[in-house]
Each structure stands twice: as structure tokens, then as C-alpha cells.
């Protein structure tokens, strides 16, 4: 079964038409997408730096993550909602874009990793004993989110 009819339906929804007919909605949604991305990257970087043993030692990674969790989630939700709105602008373009499936795959992997293994390591509160595990979790996390950002850039820079 082809997903084309679904994409065409999405393209023709009133919401998508409103965005296409506006001169300022698209740049505004793109800006909100970047704000969400910034919040996400900044808060994850804060936790991962702590896991890597860089930065302030006064608080554990678990404490830092505990305080930042709502902002990480907020940034993620904002980026996903605006991302779906950006898709609606021209779903068929994304369907044909070579970088798009990579971004979706990397995003799903990054989110899954963040809320399972990464979370487990962060909450375990071990600051010295299992250093290798901490560093591994932080390294994988940073690599995955960098990959998501790079794939997103590839979509916007490459029309094919």
C-alpha cells in the first residue's frame, strides 16, 4: 500500500493550507523548531557533560537531569509539533527527500535511547564506580542527537 494518498490528504488539510497561504507562518514555525532544538540540545548537553565528568561536580547527573527533564521534554515536544507542521507545508517533498528517512530513524533511536538506557544510567547516580558506562551513555547520546541535527540540516540544504 502506498502512503501517497495519506500524504496528499495531509497536504490538503486546512492547517497545511493556512501555513502555505501565510507569508510569515513558515519562518515562524521554523524559528520555533530551532528554539525547541536549542532547548533539547542544551539540556541534554548539560547532563551528558556531567556524565563525561566535565563541568561542575557539586551535583550528580541524576540531580541535574531531574531539574532539566521538563525542559528537555518541552523542547522535544515543541520540535516534534513544529516538525509535523513543517512537514504539512509540502509532504510530498519530504517523501522524496533522501535525508528525511535518516532523520526519522535517528530521531526515533535517539528518543528511545534517551528514555531507556540513558535515563537508567543517569538516574543510577553512580559517579565514580561505573565511569565507562557513564561515558558510553553520554557519547552515544551526543552522537545520536548530533546525527538528528545533521540529518535535519541535510533536509533543508538539499532539495532532493
Amino acid at each position: 500500500m502506498s502512503s501517497l494518498p495519506l500524504l496528499e490528504w495531509f497536504r490538503d488539510t486546512p492547517l497545511a493550507q493556512t501555513i502555505r497561504n501565510s507569508s510569515w507562518l513558515l519562518p515562524a514555525i521554523e524559528s520555533a523548531h530551532l528554539v525547541g532544538y536549542g532547548l533539547l540540545i542544551g539540556t541534554i548537553l548539560a547532563v551528558d557533560l556531567r556524565l563525561l565528568g566535565l563541568g561542575v561536580r557539586r551535583q550528580t547527573a541524576s540531580q541535574i537531569a531531574g531539574e532539566l527533564t521538563p525542559w528537555t521534554a518541552g523542547g522535544l515536544v515543541l520540535a516534534i509539533i513544529t516538525g509535523v507542521l513543517l512537514l504539512s507545508y509540502d509532504p510530498l517533498k519530504f517523501y522524496a527527500n533522501h535525508a528525511f528517512p535518516y532523520k526519522v530513524a535517528l530521531l526515533v533511536t535517539a528518543v528511545a535511547f534517551h528514555y531507556t538506557a540513558h535515563r537508567k544510567v543517569t538516574l543510577s547516580n553512580a559517579s565514580g564506580i561505573k565511569l565507562v558506562r557513564n561515558r558510553l551513555a553520554a557519547g552515544v547520546s551526543l552522537a545520536l542527537w548530533l546525527g538528528v541535527a545533521l540529518a535535519g540540516l541535510a533536509i533543508s540544504l538539499n532539495p532532493f
Partner: protein, 166 residues
């Protein structure tokens, strides 16, 4: 008759220099510069937003403000330097387009205002250690955080809008 000393003429000259032409005509330079600009934006905006939210009392309330500053200021500075460098190279390659873009001018003014906000904050607020550990901060510290979030979001939006200006 064009004034030979005008900024516009300077921009015309600037984007005809070898370096500017090299960036424009390269297959990958422009994309690489945009990528560096946007990746460092994530680190910059994220670290700035965390401090701003702390000042506003919306997160990290148990962390002393000075701890946050010490921990993240190097990252904020490094990412800003990368953004400024990649941004300067992008301006070099498209000087006339930037000069004539309203969004670009708004962006530059907002960066300037955000810079003034930082200077005022660091001169007046950061020296006050009395509230460093407090969960709720004095109004002027809150205001600095609010203004910072507003101005940097504006810088980001104006930057995004440059691409739609022509």
C-alpha cells in the same frame, strides 16, 4: 551617481573578492557554514536558555547561579565564537543581500541589544552574591533573564527570516 564611499558599494566590492566568490561557488562551503552556524546555535541557545530559566525561577532552582555560569559560560562563549565566525563568512559571501535585507538589520540590532543586556547583567547582578543560592531571585535578575530569552529568540527568528527576504 553612486557614492563611491557608500556601505552598499563596499558590500558590492566585498562580495566580489576572491574569498567571497570561493564560498559562493563552492559545492559544499555554503552548506558547511550554515551547518556550523546552526549546530553552534543549538549549544548557544540551549546554554543561554538554561541560565535564563534559572534566573526566572523556572528550573534548576537548587543550583547556585554562579555554578550554572561557571559550568556553561565556556560553552556559551565557544559556540558564540563559532556562530560569529561562520556568520561573518556567510555575510562576506552575500554582503549585498545581507545589507539590503530588513531581517538582517533587525537581527544585528537585536544582537547588539542582547549584548547590552549581558553587559548590564554581568556588571550589576552577578557581583551580588547575596542571592546566588536563592530559589527566587530579585526582580532585576528575573528581568535580565526574561529580556535575554526574548532577545535571543528574536535574533533566531530574524536570522531565519533573512532567507525569506529577497
Amino acid at each position: 551617481m553612486a557614492d563611491p564611499m557608500s556601505i552598499l558599494n563596499f558590500c558590492h566590492w566585498l562580495e566580489r573578492t576572491h574569498g567571497a566568490v570561493a564560498i559562493r561557488e563552492s559545492m559544499w562551503m555554503f552548506g558547511a557554514l550554515i551547518s556550523i552556524h546552526v549546530l553552534s546555535l543549538g549549544v548557544f541557545f540551549g546554554t543561554v536558555a538554561m541560565l535564563d530559566l534559572r534566573l526566572l525561577g523556572r528550573g534548576m532552582r537548587n543550583t547556585p547561579v554562579s555554578d550554572l555560569v561557571n559550568r556553561f559560560l565556556p560553552w556559551t562563549r565557544a559556540s558564540f565564537a563559532l556562530m560569529a565566525l561562520s556568520g561573518a563568512l556567510l555575510i562576506w559571501s552575500e554582503a549585498v543581500k545581507c545589507y539590503t535585507s530588513t531581517s538582517f538589520r533587525i537581527k544585528m540590532v537585536l544582537i547588539l541589544l542582547a549584548g547590552v543586556n549581558i553587559l548590564v547583567f554581568h556588571r550589576t547582578c552577578r557581583t551580588a552574591a547575596s542571592w546566588d543560592q536563592g530559589a527566587v531571585l530579585p526582580a532585576r535578575a528575573k528581568f535580565a533573564g526574561f529580556l535575554s530569552l526574548l532577545l535571543w529568540t528574536g535574533v533566531l527568528a530574524a536570522g531565519r527570516a533573512i532567507g525569506y527576504d529577497y
